[in-house]
């Protein structure tokens, strides 16, 4: 198999799949002397700057439309509703504190979590149950799903910004105080 043939095959494989495709799935199709990662890298290069690009997300690669075309495409492609702010905050808390129980989420937000919010995240397949905490009442632990990574175009959870970096908020720091670096980090749960 030539390199060009490998490229064709990888292109077809990734194009056909509804979910991100891992290098391992490709390597099963390739002869031993061809490296799947290298083939995918060459494929990405070929699509760079095109209307459809190869991006890494959720443990594999996937073709996606270029972000700059979104305004035009939204006119013709059907778009699901965006998640409301509360759901996004809850999702962020679950992403950063996972595995986490419902009372812990409520503690961090300082308010109760509505059925609707949890439902919307479950239904969007962004979160899922991750076992139980071995503490009184054995509450369910929640965490993010692989689809969460795919949805936001993240390779893995380590791509989330570190919490201490998030705290350098440009909105709070008015004026050119940007260099101020804070090393300390709020504890995830500080009980009263």
């Amino acid at each position: 198999m030539t390199e060009e043939e490998a490229l064709r095959l990888a292109e077809a494989l990734v194009f056909a799949s509804a979910a991100p495709v891992g290098a391992r799935a490709l390597s099963q199709l390739l002869p031993d002397d061809l490296d799947a990662d290298a083939v995918l890298a060459a494929l990405r290069e070929r699509y760079a700057g095109r209307g459809v690009e190869l991006v890494e997300a959720g443990g594999g690669v996937q073709f996606r439309t270029a972000p700059d075309l979104a305004p035009l495409l939204r006119k013709v492609v059907e778009i699901p509703r965006r998640l409301p702010r509360v759901a996004m905050e809850t999702l962020a808390i679950i992403a950063y504190h996972q595995p986490v129980t419902r009372p812990e989420i409520e503690e961090i937000r300082g308010t109760s979590l509505s059925q609707q919010t949890l439902d919307s995240l479950l239904e969007a397949d962004l979160i899922g149950p991750k076992g139980r905490r071995e503490s009184p009442g054995r509450p369910t632990l929640w965490g993010t799903t692989p689809h969460f990574l795919a949805q936001f175009g993240l390779r893995d959870l380590r791509e989330l910004p570190r919490r201490e970096d998030l705290l350098l908020e440009p909105t709070v720091v008015a004026g050119p105080v940007g260099q101020e670096v804070r090393s300390e980090q709020g504890s995830p749960l500080s009980p009263d």
Binding site: F15, A16, S17, A18, V55, Q62, F63, R64, T65, A66, P67, A70, L73, V77, I79, P80, R82, R85, V86, M88, E89, L91, A92, I93, A95, Y96, I108, R109, G110, T111, D119, L122, E123, D125, G128, P129, T145, A150, Q151, F152, G153, L154, L160, P161, R163, L166, L167, E169, T171, V172, V173, A174, V177, E180, R182, G186, S187, S190, P191, D192
Partner: protein, 252 residues
């Protein structure tokens, strides 16, 4: 904070997701690093907002008031001269600042996530993915998430389709007791226990007790009207009934 700011906060109180949300917003208006906010100033602002809101709407949710009470305690301790209690308060103030930092970080994380190009919103996957699989019926894609979602769906649909029907009342009423006592009274020669008037066949202890209470009420009612006399020999003893001939005697 100026008076007009306070007013607008009062009006916006319903827009806040609980006390912590409001506190964070107030901390932001201090326009400094969250690590350097003045807890005292924050407490005063919060209390001012809550006080203002109470003058407009008396019914303020409990968690707002609980937070207000806690902050009042914190403020009083922070104002004390140096001592063990101040130290305790400083710990509490640190914990509050730390919670605000964490919430703030999660806000920022949510904003960061929202800023990412989202699949199906900003970038699109292939609209017509091809399935080259020969469908292998031996394997099922089962995950706990979809099981739980399915359960929620079924239960929610059920709740929507359900109607409330009150259970039929099975308790022996005072009215029924009155009729029964009145009907049986004529055939009674002498004092009899009140329990003799109870109908037969109770399903539960509760029903029997309710019937006894109804019968007692019926007896008292009839005694007041002079139709019967009631007597109780000693405390918790049986209550006796007979047809009245003269003066009415009160039950003990």
């Amino acid at each position: 904070m100026s008076a007009s700011d306070t007013d607008s906060l009062v009006l916006r109180l319903e827009g806040f997701e609980g006390p912590l949300d409001l506190l964070l917003d107030l901390a932001r208006t201090q326009k400094v690093d969250l690590a350097k906010i003045s807890i005292l100033a924050l407490v005063e602002q919060y209390l001012a907002v809550i006080e203002g809101a109470r003058s407009v709407r008396l019914e303020l949710a409990a968690d707002w008031l609980v937070m207000a009470a806690w902050l009042t305690w914190l403020k009083s301790r922070l104002l004390l001269p140096e001592g063990a209690e101040t130290e305790e308060a400083e710990h509490a103030a640190d914990a509050l600042a730390s919670r605000l930092r964490d919430l703030s970080a999660m806000r920022a994380a949510a904003a960061w996530l929202s800023g990412l190009p989202q699949l199906g919103q900003d970038v699109f996957a292939r609209g017509t993915p091809e399935d080259h699989t020969e469908i292998d019926r031996s394997r099922l894609a089962l995950d706990l998430g979809s099981l739980v979602r399915a359960y929620l769906q079924a239960m929610r649909r059920r709740v929507r389709s359900r109607r409330y029907e009150p259970r039929p009342l099975t308790l022996w009423s005072v009215k029924e007791a009155l009729q029964r006592v009145a009907a049986m009274l004529g055939s009674l020669p002498d004092w009899v226990s009140l329990e003799q008037f109870l109908p037969e066949g109770f399903g539960s202890v509760l029903e029997r007790r309710a019937a006894l209470a109804s019968t007692l009420l019926a007896g008292l009612e009839m005694a007041r009207g002079g139709a019967v006399r009631l007597r109780q020999e000693h405390e918790f003893g049986p209550i006796l009934v007979r047809r009245a001939e003269g003066a009415v005697e009160e039950g003990a």
